[in-house]
Amino acid sequence: MTDPMPGCAARQPPASLVPTGLGGAAVIDKFVATINEAVAGIADGSTVLLAGFGAGTPEHLVAGLIEQGARDLILVCNAGGRDDGPIADLLATERVRKLICSFVRPASVAARLFTAGKLELEIVPQGTLAERIRAGGAGVQGFYTPTAADTLLAEGRETRVINGRLCLLEYPIFGDVALIDAWEADRWGNLTHRDSARNFNPIMAMAAKLAIVQTAHVVPLGAIPPANVHTAGVFVQRVLHVPVAGGTDV
């Protein structure tokens, strides 16, 4: 896995290859047993993509990242969180240098850290944020969108008129790490996401070198029909089984 091309989200190798005992061949097994293994090796300075939008936030992995201790992080997520909850908890460690998101509530840990000069903020329209992440995963090196082109957010930035519309040049977001939530996972890392808990999960998994998944359910390889895989295992490097509490496992 050496020498990734610049601008490509080079995959990390799968968590493990387990010998089958059948002539030396091995099977891909991305499951890890503990939260420590799941978040191992996240380096200081990493760009961390954190999925979720009301649902689909991998809270256990965020707790693991806090425990793991990586600092000087760039955090990419939809919104800056509230006064409590996983994003607030992570920001409160003051190990996030910069937050890239679509909005920050005035009453939130993020807003207070920003006001105190302890957090950089990059506010990106939500659709542009999603598209920049998707571009990172898809090897698109830049794109033009009319979104925000004639607003304050475009000040000092490159625009171009295409087909009569003012457009803004946007660049991809590449993650070193993505923290992903899933409903089901198999040992190749194929995932389903439940209902609207899908949100940023498939595109963030694709845009990061190391996609770490928290899954509610473990299923055998083949249990997810090929036509209904929501995030293909080729985008996933590690999977941790975090059974859902009785009440929500509906």
């Binding site: 939008f53 009301g54 649902a55 689909g56 939809n78 919104a79 679509s102 909005f103 920050v104 509530r105 005035p106 993020a110 807003a111 920003f114 006001t115 903020l121 506010i123 990106v124 329209p125 939500q126 659709g127 542009t128 999603a130 598209e131 992440i133 998707r134 969108t145 009319p146 979104t147 925000a148 082109a149 004639d150 607003t151 304050l152 957010l153 409903w183 996401h193 439940r194 209902d195 609207s196 808990a197 899908r198 949100n199 940023f200 999960n201 498939p202 595109i203 929501h230 929500t248 509906v250």
Partner: protein, 214 residues
């Protein structure tokens, strides 16, 4: 004397104007309430930015599905015939012109169709952009739902030029307020409807932009 609509009144008024078969995104605030006034046998399909096509009514208390929320992170249901997509596909819907209509709340709308709905000052330290800029430039038509005047005062939200930072330029087609329905036209704001008892002159008095009789 006239009686302004309350927020639900504005939402109900909008719901009446949405034809069958339209695919509609509702912003946070007054717009979210619009779907409550579209009976379930009317096939208007609602979109939420977080990847839900076919948002249905709120579930009865106690039967919320924690995995199913709308763009305002409220528990919702999904209609028969709905679909889930991921966030990039969801905004491809918005940006790609697939919404017949988006209804947004706003602080101000100007006579050339500019909308300001995300910040009250250019130097506001913490910015709440969300998905409004994407929706505003992408939907086939943008309607705004808001109060006609600023809270507790005579300030007009219907303006010649917006005073707040813009969300997008020249995109608003129609504004529903507690007092009137106004179309944005090349000739300015045209009054399409007013609440009972309202006169054109009284409406103009409460409006900074110059109004045109509909």
């Amino acid at each position: 004397m006239y009686k302004p609509l309350d927020r639900n009144g504005i939402a109900a008024r909008i719901a009446r104007d949405i034809p069958e078969g339209w695919f509609v995104n509702l912003g946070i605030g007054i717009p979210t309430a619009v779907s409550d006034f579209v009976p379930e046998d009317r096939e208007v399909i609602f979109h939420a930015e977080n990847g839900v096509i076919g948002i249905g009514p709120a579930p009865p208390p106690g039967s919320e599905n924690p995995y199913l929320v709308n763009a305002g992170v409220q528990h919702v249901t999904i209609r028969t015939g709905g679909a889930y997509v991921h966030h990039a596909d969801s905004f491809a819907i918005a940006r790609g012109g697939h919404l017949d209509l988006c209804v947004l709340g706003a602080f101000e709308v100007s006579e050339n169709g500019d909308i300001a709905n995300w910040a009250r000052a250019a130097d506001e330290p913490v910015k709440q952009v969300g998905g409004a800029m994407d929706l505003a430039v992408g939907a086939q038509r943008l309607w705004v739902a808001m109060e006609h005047n600023t809270k507790g005062g005579g300030g007009s939200r219907i303006r010649r030029v917006c005073s707040y930072p813009l969300t997008a330029k020249g995109v608003v087609r129609r504004v529903y307020t507690d007092l009137a329905v106004l179309d944005v036209t090349p000739g300015g704001f045209v009054v399409r409807d007013m609440v009972e008892g309202m006169t054109f002159e009284a409406l103009q008095e409460r409006t900074e932009a110059v109004l045109v009789r509909g």
